[in-house]
Structures are given as C-alpha cells and as structure tokens.
Symmetry: C2
Subunit: 345 residues, 2 copies
C-alpha cells in the first residue's frame, strides 16, 4: 500500500490524496484507513462547536498558532484542522472563513487544514470526518482540531470523535438562544466565551454558570451514542475507570481570539483536561466507545447491503405499493419483506 | 383492539393513552399504530421550524386559532399540534411555551396539543413524532402542525413528515445566522418573517429573497432522505408526477403573530401549497417516500436485532478488544463479526 506508507513517512501530497479518497467514500480510501489503523490512537482530538457568529474559526486559528509557537521552550506540536460544515452544499466552506485562515497559517509544514462540506448526507459527513481524523492521527499530527457549526446532531457526532469538546459562546446572543444551549452544554468539557470584549459578557457568563450549577450531568452514556435507543450491545469494560468522586468540572474561559487574549489559558485548560482523561481512564474509555460506534455503523450498513442484494425488487415494489395504498401496515410490510429475503437464501 | 376503536370513535382519553404508548416505544403502541394504519393518509401535515427566538410557538398558536375560526363561513378544522423539542431532557417543553398555549386553546375539543421531548435519542424522537402524527391522522384531525426548534437534523426529519414546511425567520438575527440558514431554506415551502414589526424586517426579507434568487434547488431528492447516502433501494414511481415546468416558488410572508397579522395570508399560502401538492402528484409522492423511509428504518432495526441475537457476546468482546488494541482494523473486525454470526446459524 504505497499511499499508506507515504503518509506514515510524512508525505503531504499522499495525505491530501487519501483525504479526498475518504471524503468521496472511495473503496481505496477505506483500504488506506485499514492499512493505517494500527498507527492511530495517539493524537488529541479537540472538538470546537458553537453557534454561527461566536468566532469559532478565529479561535481555532489562534489555538493552532499557539500550538505551533508554544511558550517556555516547549516543542511545537503538529496541528491538523478539520473544518466541518454540515449546513449546505450551497454555502460550502465559505462560512468557515477558510481563505482567511489559509493566509494566516499557510506555508507552515506543521499545519494541515481540511474543510469538509456536506455532500447530500449528514451520515456521510460524519463518516468522512472520522476518516479524516484517523488519517491525521496516523500521519503523526499531535493535535486535531475538529470545528463544526453548532447544529444539533453534528455536536453529538463531535463528542463521539473528540477527546475534549469546547463549546464556544459569545455575548449578546439572546436569552432564548441561551436556553436552547442547555442541550449543547451537556457535551461541553470546556466552555469558551469568545468576543469577551463585547457588551454583555457578564450576563453570558452568569447564564452559563447558573446552567452549570443546575447540574452538569454525567456525559451521555455510551449506549446512547451507539444505538439511538433502539437495540443494545454490551458496554465498554469498566476496568480502569475513574472512581465516581473524580469528576471533571467544565471551566469557563473568556477569550478575544483576534487579539490572542485567553488563548494560553484555554490551551492550559485543554492540557489539564487531557491529563484528567488519562489519569481517570476516560481517554481509553472514549477511544473504546468511539471504535465500538464505528464498528456498529459498519455492521448496520453491511447487514442492510446484504439484505438488499438478496431482495427481489419486484416483491419490494409490490409490498411498497400495498403500503402506500394502506392495504398493509408498515409492520406487516416488514414481516413480508424479511420473509421474502430469507426465503431466497 | 379496543384502544384503536376508541380513537376512531373520537375518544380523547384513548388518543392520549396511545400517544403515551407510542412515545414510550411500547409494543402496545405499535399494535395501535398498525391497527389504525388503514385510516391514515388524509391529514395535512404542516411542519414549522426556525431558530429559537423567531416566535414559532406563537405563530403555530395563531394558525391553530385561524383553523378553528375560519372566515367566510368555512367549517372549522380539527387541529393537532405536535411540539417537538430535540434540545435536551433538561429544558423539556418549557421553551415551547406550552403552558401559555394550553391556556389559549384549552377547552376546545377540536384541538389537541402534545409536546414531545428528547428521551436520550434523536432517532427515538423522530419515530415517536411520526407515530404521534399517524395517531392524529387516524383520529380524524384535518391539520397536524408539527413544530420543532431549528436544529439541523430535526428539520430534515420534518421534511420527511410534513407535506408543507414553514421556515420561520425574524429580523435582526445577524448576517452570519442568515448565512447558515441557507441549508434550512432548501427545505422551505413557505418562508415566514415573524416579528415583522421589529427593526430590520426589510433587510431580512432582502436577504431571504436574494438567497431564493440564488436558486431554490429542487427539494432534496428522495434517496437522500432515505439512506443518508449509503445504500440504495429503488425509488418511488414517477407516474403522476408533475411536469418539470410546474414548480413551487416559496413565497415570503410577513407576520406579527401576537396581533394575528399575516395569519390569514399565511393560511392562504398553505392552502395554495396543498392544492399544488395535489395537482402535481407531489402529495402522493411525499406520502410514498415517507412510508418508504419508515419501512426502511424498520428493516434496518430488525436486521440489527436479528444479528445481535445470533451473536456470541464473548466473540464480540474479543473482537472489540482487538480493535481497541489496534491489532485489527474496523473493517477486519466487521468481517470477523459477520462471519461469526453467520457460522452460528
């Protein structure tokens, strides 16, 4: 597998090619991912999410710069940025301000930026993003910043992918917007109030703090990620897990990204979270759950594909017509369909 | 099936009980749905979506009042409201202002309001909402208003359920919020600028109009709804479909819900859309696609359940451990898992 070897050797062109293969759901992309799989599991995946207008892109940008030029003679870290835009094939990557970012970090061989736009399916986007993160991981990037526009399902997908999730807020987004954010707060490891030089920052911080006090629930249990509540597969082993007393309290960090204010402090929180993950066994547990979820998706798709291959299209159309004519119920249709596929074995 | 008969006879208590069974994913709920299925397919399902703060609930409220007291001696229509809140089990239905709404429409036997909150899974919520809509349909409600907080995936699920989708905007939500809305615009049959007495309504309308001019794409093709782009099943028949020239241009309607301004005009657009759906064959096509999607989800879950029953838990744990240890790739794990389940047949 020439491409996989080239990526392990640090080839940027090979990496870019593999990213495209993965994004296009090309079988060759799957082959590269499989070949590289044993080299993954080292990178720190950091999810950054929040509503439009909170300045996420700028924040991600500044974090990347910080990791490239850390203080106190620390070695610079290699940084990959995956900018995910689930909104629309229309708006494309423009929202995420890629061109501005490119200019800022361009020419640094320790940085790789890739934006992923929806190609008709949310499920496909999540899979492509997961694949891209794996490629960057195998290629030896130390930090992978995964940025998504805050839009419901996509945040949940970030939690699955990321070790550490940053939820970005900004002052003055309105009270009802704050209310809806309660759902997003549940996935936050670190809260960032960006644009902290704007009016209303105290109100925003107070609102966030009172929501946190309402009770930061335990991170959603693994089973919810796996099945959307339908069927169950045994859970990750609890060996190596932290005792219940050792919990992570999400800190709130203010920042003004364009002026690099609060960035070093934010990076310190991220580092502290990484140490927490490692010492508590959470790092391993999240890794395990993520792989379990990935495997589960593969199984589900494979089962469906197999079944479709066995299915008689004429029988399928007949059953659908009976369903649309309200002659049989969906459950009766299901029984007929499964019976039909089985009898052709 | 006593419950189903009671619902067909117009029993509100029976309906409430069935709604709870469906929401709790109780097998008895499935039985009621199956028994009532032949009585569905008549109600006009109207989806109402938009960001928090646009006044969706108030608008839905006013539409319901309009349908209950139509002008020009038209008969009142029976109205069901399904208020979906995908945000969080935390915030619950509070955001949707149910209590206010209840007070307003309470005591009217021609109105039934039900709110559905997330119970741990988005997939479960979509299924429960679909079930609730079916129950209301069978129970003889003429109009079903399905309201969701605008949050990515949930809008797509509305499009699946609704014949007519209203996207609600409000002035002064900021330019970058407008930009992100492009994705939502694609699903709009009718655009509503609510709070049209607020400053900036002209800007909002101009922004929406220019986005529409950028090209209102054909509604997303059925296959995208069905499979999230992974596998394929034959499409709905094109018989009875409209010629390409007959397209629907989404109108933009201003409203001030608390003052009932623009509500009659909005209802007229909705009626016009219904006539368009019927004359173009779209009504039937959307019904067909929705049922096909529902069947597809049932098949997928049934296949997974079957497979899990055949699976040896010890083998599964071994394979997962090898995966987490990076000794085998996800694809190799898949091959082993499918092989293992097969060999136990």
């Amino acid at each position: 597998m020439g491409l996989a070897e080239d990526i392990l050797a640090g080839g940027r062109l090979a990496l870019a090619r593999a990213l495209t293969l993965v994004e296009n759901d090309d079988p060759a992309g799957q082959a590269v991912l499989s070949a590289l799989f044993h080299s993954t599991g080292r990178a720190h995946r950091i999810g950054v999410t929040g509503a439009p207008g909170t300045g996420k892109s700028s924040l991600v940008n500044q974090l990347a710069r910080f990791y490239r030029q850390p203080p106190d003679a620390q070695p610079p870290r290699r940084v990959a940025i995956v900018a995910v835009d689930p909104s629309s094939p229309f708006t494309g990557g423009a929202i995420l301000g890629d061109r501005i970012r490119m200019r800022d970090l361009a020419g640094d061989p320790g940085v790789f930026i890739r934006s992923m736009a929806t190609r008709g399916s949310l499920g496909g986007l999540a899979a492509a993003t997961a694949g891209a993160a794996q490629l960057f991981d195998a290629a030896g990037f130390d930090v992978i910043l995964i940025e998504t526009v805050g839009a419901g399902q996509s945040e949940v997908d970030i939690v699955r992918l990321a070790h550490t999730t940053l939820v970005v807020e900004a002052p003055g987004m309105g009270d009802d917007i704050q209310a809806i954010k309660a759902g997003i707060l549940e996935i936050a490891d670190i809260l960032v109030i960006n644009k902290a030089d704007h009016i209303g920052v105290e109100n925003t911080e107070r609102a966030l703090r009172s929501m946190l006090e309402l009770g930061h629930p335990a991170r959603l249990a693994g089973s919810q990620f796996l099945h959307h509540g339908q069927t169950y597969i045994p859970q990750a082993p609890s060996a190596g897990q932290a005792p219940e007393a050792e919990v992570w309290e999400p800190p709130i960090q203010r920042s003004v990204a364009p002026e690099s204010k609060g960035i070093a402090e934010l990076a310190a929180h991220i580092q502290r979270h990484r140490l927490y993950l490692e010492s508590s066994g959470e790092w391993q547990r999240r890794d395990y759950q993520r792989l379990q979820h990935e495997l589960h998706t593969l199984v589900q798709n494979a089962l469906l594909q197999r079944w479709e291959q066995q299915l008689d299209p004429a029988v399928y159309q007949d059953i659908l017509a009976a369903l649309a004519g309200r002659r049989i119920s969906p459950h009766a249709a299901l029984q007929r369909l499964l019976g039909s596929a089985d009898s052709r074995r």
